[in-house]
């Protein structure tokens, strides 16, 4: 069927004028793929689906959302009221809002697995360095997007989360105060902040779409790595369609089942997706005892919190991202896949455990024990990157296969 459409004279007419059909053939049909890609390779396609879902549901939310902190009585605001209107009075508004809120968490879940796959199979190595860098850029833009988005409902956690995180800017020497006021549009988080965050929450997803398209185009220049990490001979290459279109569709189906379970049966994720305290309207006079960002930001927040000095904490957190960017050059082993690198494999497992631990600590109120655990985990995080340039010197890699 698809073949018929693409061969039709209408498609030919369009192709003579725009090359549209050639693009489709190149990226979605003929794209040559190794035949041994496992289901970890489906998370890229799944992330694309989530991105589209976020943009569409966000668009519908924006039609009824009002970005204003105007008080409407008993501590409530126009923004908070407008979200509740969406939840209660707009037709299927609850569905759209829960899809969007669950989608944000799902997006990070999928992207973190996508990145873990890249780490495990060494997909960040030559010639895919830039692909990896674009991925880290996507992560940063995503984190900015949720940070802007989470302010919009103007609940307690929206307000105090934004206050704590924008405070970070204030600790930067010399320009800190100026920057802080620029970001907030005033001395404290308020109506001007909400206005600019709403505008930015519209802009960053568009940036995301652009970088994601670029990411996919770049992938199709350097081609997919595979679980063995070795170069593939011609005979082990298959076209993307129909093999990976069906395989990815199956993966998307499994994802949608889990996603729908949360949307329909547990939309707040027991406080992980929408925090309990965010059902209270923002109250600048009442600081909650326990302010923590949503789970997908907590590992980075915990690195920041682990350092006793505020400025050094910011530098530490920035450095955590810099390490991710530099990864392709820090790792000097010629072998890609962790399947054949026993030491690297162990280091990775510890690294993943450290990130999970950081996330756990960042999600909970500070106690002396948790601070200590968070500090150890931060050290482990950085130790991973500091060890990478040296492991290949003593690591005995397992013999690589000739071909897949």
């Amino acid at each position: 069927m698809i073949k018929k459409i693409l061969d039709s004279s209408a498609a030919q007419w369009l192709d003579d004028r725009t090359h549209a059909v050639q693009y489709i053939r190149f990226h979605l049909i003929d794209y040559p793929t190794p035949k041994n890609l496992n289901y970890m390779y489906a998370f890229g396609s799944i992330a694309l689906v989530v991105l589209i879902l976020q943009v569409l549901t966000g668009l519908f939310l924006a039609m009824d959302y009002k970005a204003a902190t105007l008080p409407t009585g008993n501590g409530f605001s126009l923004a908070f009221d407008s979200v509740e209107r969406i939840m209660r009075d707009v037709n299927s508004g609850w569905l759209i809002r829960y899809m969007h809120a669950v989608g944000a968490s799902a997006f990070f879940f999928v992207i973190y697995l996508h990145m873990a796959r890249g780490l495990y199979y060494g997909s960040y190595k030559k010639p895919r360095e830039f692909l990896w860098i674009m991925g880290v850029m996507i992560l940063v833009i995503m984190q900015a997007t949720v940070f802007f988005g989470y302010l919009l409902p103007w609940g307690q956690m929206s307000f105090w989360g934004a206050t704590v995180i924008t405070n970070i800017f204030g600790a930067i020497p010399v320009i800190g105060d100026w920057l802080l006021q620029l970001v907030r549009g005033g001395f404290s988080v308020g109506d001007p902040t909400l206005g600019r965050f709403f505008a930015l929450h519209f802009l960053t997803p568009l940036l995301l779409v652009v970088v994601v398209l670029w990411h996919v185009m770049a992938l199709h220049v350097v081609h997919s790595n595979n679980p063995t990490g070795v170069e593939t001979s011609e005979k082990n290459i298959i076209p993307f369609h129909p093999y990976y279109t069906v395989k990815d569709l199956f993966g998307i189906g499994v994802f949608l089942i889990v996603y729908s379970y949360f949307v329909f049966f547990n939309p707040t994720g027991n406080g992980l997706i929408i925090e309990v305290n965010n059902f209270n309207p923002a109250n600048p006079m009442h600081t909650p005892g326990d302010i923590s960002p949503v789970w997908y930001l907590t590992p980075w927040y915990e690195i920041l919190r682990s350092v006793p000095d505020k400025l050094l904490g910011i530098i530490g957190m920035g450095f955590a991202y810099v390490c991710l960017f530099l990864l392709p050059w820090l790792d000097r082993s010629p072998v890609r896949s962790a399947r054949y690198r026993p030491v690297y494999r162990m280091m990775l497992i510890v690294f993943f455990a450290a990130i999970a631990t950081l996330g756990y600590c960042g999600h909970h109120p500070v106690t002396p024990e948790l601070t200590l655990v968070g500090r150890i985990a931060s050290v482990v995080y950085f130790a991973f990157f500091f060890m990478l340039p040296f492991v290949h010197k003593f690591e005995k890699t397992k013999p690589l296969p000739e071909d897949l």
């Binding site: 035949k35 609850w94 093999y243 395989k247 569709l249 059902f279 756990y360 600590c361 109120p365």
Partner: protein, 227 residues
């Protein structure tokens, strides 16, 4: 090497576990059977209008909603009786003004539309709060303002159901009232929850069938690739 790394993972895990036990000690809530059937919701609504509405509003629920949400399903006459001269599509509001409230209680009672989602423990918290009035063991907080489940124990709301020193024969009735109003507030905090779950069942069944078909398709397409 392997051993060192493994012991490190173990150390991290242990640290995480010790953090867990450090979690804030809070009074365990009473368990309660929240049910969203029509009889309970209507009973809870009446507790709300008879008692709570003296001080609290439901800003996101209108009188008309009481007819329009099939889960509550009140008749027009019943609504008219409850709303008296309030407009049909106005929110359910207390007649206590903010100024009076501040004067009498020192604080404006919070709106209850979202209360069941805005506290840890949800409906069980509301139930526990209403049946949690007691004598202050240290004798500092006056009777009627001491509550076992309220953070800090001193609450500005004075025992709305008359739980403190109730007669033993009233206990069952008071518990039923507390359970009904906690259920009603649970419904009101997310009024599409039953509809959502009903639709969700079919969505998931559909997706499972679709995914199974895709899996069979995948197997068929891949049958000519050996790996």
């Amino acid at each position: 090497m392997k051993k060192i790394i493994m012991s490190f993972v173990l150390l991290l895990a242990m640290g995480g576990a010790s953090g867990l036990s450090q979690a804030e000690e809070s009074v365990a809530l009473k368990s309660v059977d929240i049910s969203l059937d029509r009889a309970t919701l209507q009973k809870g609504l009446h507790v709300f209008t008879d008692v709570c509405m003296g001080c609290h509003s439901l800003r996101y629920i209108t009188w008309k909603d009481l007819m329009d949400y099939p889960e509550i399903g009140l008749k027009r006459e019943a609504v008219d009786e409850l709303r008296e001269d309030a407009p049909l599509n106005a929110p359910i509001k207390t007649s206590l003004s903010e100024a009076e409230a501040k004067e009498n209680y020192g604080i404006v009672p919070p709106d209850l539309s979202l209360m069941a989602r805005a506290r840890e423990g949800k409906g069980a918290y509301i139930y526990s709060l209403l049946t949690g009035f007691a004598h202050d063991p240290k004798g500092r907080v006056e009777d009627g303002n001491y509550n076992i489940y309220f953070p800090g124990h001193r609450i500005a709301m004075g025992d709305p159901l008359g739980w403190l020193d109730h007669e033993p024969e009233d206990e069952q009735d008071l518990k039923q009232q507390a359970r009904a109003v906690a259920s009603f507030l649970t419904f009101v905090s997310d009024p599409h929850q039953l509809e959502r779950q009903a639709i969700g069942k079919w969505v998931i069944i559909f997706l499972i069938v679709l995914t199974l078909v895709l899996w069979l398709l995948k197997r068929a397409v891949w049958s000519d690739v050996e790996h």
